[in-house]
Each structure stands twice: as C-alpha cells, then as structure tokens.
Amino acid sequence: MFQTIKRLYHQFGSPRYFYEMTGKMQPWLIAGTVLLVIPGLIWGLLFAPPDYLQGNSYRIMYIHVPSASLAMGGYVMMAVAGVIVLVWRMKMAEMVARCIAPIGASFAFLCLVTGAIWGKPTWGTWWVWDARLTSMLILLFLYIGVMALNMAIENPQTAARATAVLSIVGAVNIPIIKYSVEWWNTLHQPASITLTSSSMAPEMLIPLLMCIFGFYFLFAVLLIMATRCEVLAREQRSAWVRQLVGE
C-alpha cells in the first residue's frame, strides 16, 4: 500500500506523466460531475420535500454546503501541496498549489454569497459577525492573499515557496471554521452531517450527498484543466511539450 502511494507520488511528480495521466482521467471525472451534480441539483431543488420550518428556502444548501466543503477541502490540499513544495521541492506541487487558489476562492465566494441569501429569509439578516461567518470570510481573504502573492512574484519557484508559507500559516483557520459553531455561540447552526450520522431526513440528505460528491468531481476537473495549462506553460521549453504542440 505504502509502496503504491510512493510510486504514484513519484510518477505524478513528473509533469509529463501528470499531463498524460490527467488527460486520460479527465473524461471520467467530467462524466462523474455530470452524473452527480445534475441529478443531485434537480432532485434537491425540485423534488426533495420542503423543510418543516424553513419551507423552500433551505434548498439553497444544495449549493451552499458543497461550496463550503470544497472551499475548506481545497485549502487543506493547497497547504499540503505547500508542505511538499517546501520540503521536497516538487515542481508539480508548485503548479497544483498555484492552480487551487482561484478555484478555492470561487467556492469560498459562492459559499458566502449563498449563505447571505439563505440568511436573509431564515435569520432575518444578510450578515452577522459571528465566528463561523467571520472565519469563512477570512478564508476567502487568505485565498485572495495567496493569489496576489503568486502574481506579485515573477519567478514561479520563488512565488511558490512564498505562497506555500502563507498557505501553511493560514491552515490554522480551517479547524476554527469547522469547530466555530461548537466552541462559541453563533447564529449559524451546527453541522447536520458528520462522518457517522446526520440530522436530515434521508430524502433530503441523499441529493445533498450527491451534490457534495459531484462538486468534488467538479473541483477535480477544474483543477486538472488549470494545472494542465500551467504544465504546458512552465514546460514549454522541454522536448515533449514542443513535440506535443508540433513545433
């Protein structure tokens, strides 16, 4: 098991192997996205029963929850890539970390916007400075900071090392977001789904899980597309890229 992981790690560390393998994986990931997100959203938005308390407004969670989950998951992935950049100096990790930032920022933004839209009819306010909302806003700012730092430094390798430090430092925010609703009293409700249980009716939960997994596939597709462009741009002088573009 460990040997297989180690082998994959080394193989995917090669930009050429990464480019070729992800090219083969892409159609499957797109298929997974379409098969999960579209039925999940249609089911959730149109056919799942209304909530006993909130009526139809709770349906926005079918976008809000997956976005929140990915904004946080993407950040963890970026921080792990940052550790790999600093310790193992892997070029592929630099490219992946760089490409995660704008995608993660988009999901964080989507989460905040849908949250505000959901908050207005249920809580009675668009925004409140409670621990959950504020820490999520900090996450968006961290993503923007990472993007800005990447753009500010010309040399991609130097930029990658600088942003790696920022992303690792910012990772402290992730457990704060996750547990904010338990550690402090907030307006935001606690999590409905944990690894072992859920406090949602199954006919509402299943489309939500479909959306969450579907958004993970979507994230993978977006990340792969962006990273492949990055690979081509950074390896443009290597023989295999020249051959690929038919120079």
């Binding site: 029963p49 209304p50 909530d51 006993y52 308390l53 909130q54 709770y58 550790v83 600093l86 310790v87 193992w88 009819p121 249920t122 809580w123 009675g124 306010t125 409140v128 400075w129 409670d130 621990a131 690792i168 430092v169 990772a171 402290v172 457990p175 704060i176 550690w183 402090w184 009293n185 907030t186 307006l187 409700q189 606690p190 999590a191 409905s192 406090s199 949602m200 009716a201 006919e203 509402m204």
Partner: protein, 152 residues
C-alpha cells in the same frame, strides 16, 4: 528520508503546532468577544453590561409572547436555566415562533429586560419534511428536546 528534508518537515510541523497553540490561546482569551450573544444565565448573573449594545440569545418561552400596541411585542427567552424578558417594536422574522431559538440585538434597559432593535431567528441543524415533523409530534416526542439542545 533525507536528513535535511526531515529537518525541514519537523520545522514546518513544529511551526504549525506553535502557531496553532498561539491561535488557540488567543481565541480562548477572547472567547467572550467571539461569542455572538449572552445567554439568559449570563445576563441574570450580571455579566452583560447595562445600557450598551449587546446581543442576547435563547429560546422563546412557549406562551410568553404578548402583543402590545402596533408592532410592539414582549416575550421571554430562556436557556433552560434562567429567563429574561425582551421587548421589541418591529417586524419579527418569519421563523420566529414560540419554542424557537432567537437572537436579539439591543440594550439591557432594566434588570433582565432587553429593549431589542433587531430580532434574528436561529434555526437548528435538523431538516425534515412537514409530515415527518407532524408524525413525531403525534407520537408524543416533541422534537423540541432535540432543538433546544441544538440551539446553543
């Protein structure tokens, strides 16, 4: 692992642990500010300042809602230990109902009386179709128990 890389990894993880500890202590020290609202028990114990903008949160006590002139309402909120009175002049949110968790933004004008300028409804993490909720109530399991636990 190459000793130099090992050293770097240890530095990074150690740094992250130290940073986590520092953040933990800081947020622990500031917990009173991070908490969004005072609970009725805190207000009764005198922890909330008088005549300053504060938020209080709790469950609306069933049967305590009294409507006055125009839009004026008064109701009690409780955290199951203590309860305080809230007076509000304005439109209540749709989700406002007795038994529901709410947060009121306002000033403590007298002992255990909050004059609210804004009332926000809190909802919990339980989602279910109306029929299920109805069935649960019919079966004599008021789902309130679950809700009240969740409201804090």
């Amino acid at each position: 692992m190459n000793p130099k890389r090992k050293q770097k990894l240890i530095i990074i993880l150690g740094g992250l642990a130290a940073l986590g500890l520092a953040t933990g202590l800081m947020t622990y020290a500031m917990r009173e500010n991070i908490n969004l609202f005072y609970t009725p028990s805190q207000v009764v114990a005198g922890e909330a300042p008088m005549e300053k903008r504060i938020r209080v949160g709790g469950l609306v006590v069933v049967g305590s809602l009294v409507r006055g002139d125009d839009l004026e309402v008064t109701f009690d909120i409780t955290d199951k230990a203590e309860s305080i009175k809230v007076r509000y002049d304005g439109i209540l949110p749709d989700l406002f109902r007795e038994g529901q968790g709410i947060i009121a933004n306002g000033r403590l004008v007298a002992e255990n009386l909050v004059q609210a300028e804004e009332v926000l409804a809190k909802h919990d993490e339980n989602y279910m179709p109306p029929e299920v909720q109805h069935a649960i109530e019919q079966a004599g399991h008021p789902k309130k128990d679950k809700q009240e636990k969740a409201a804090y």
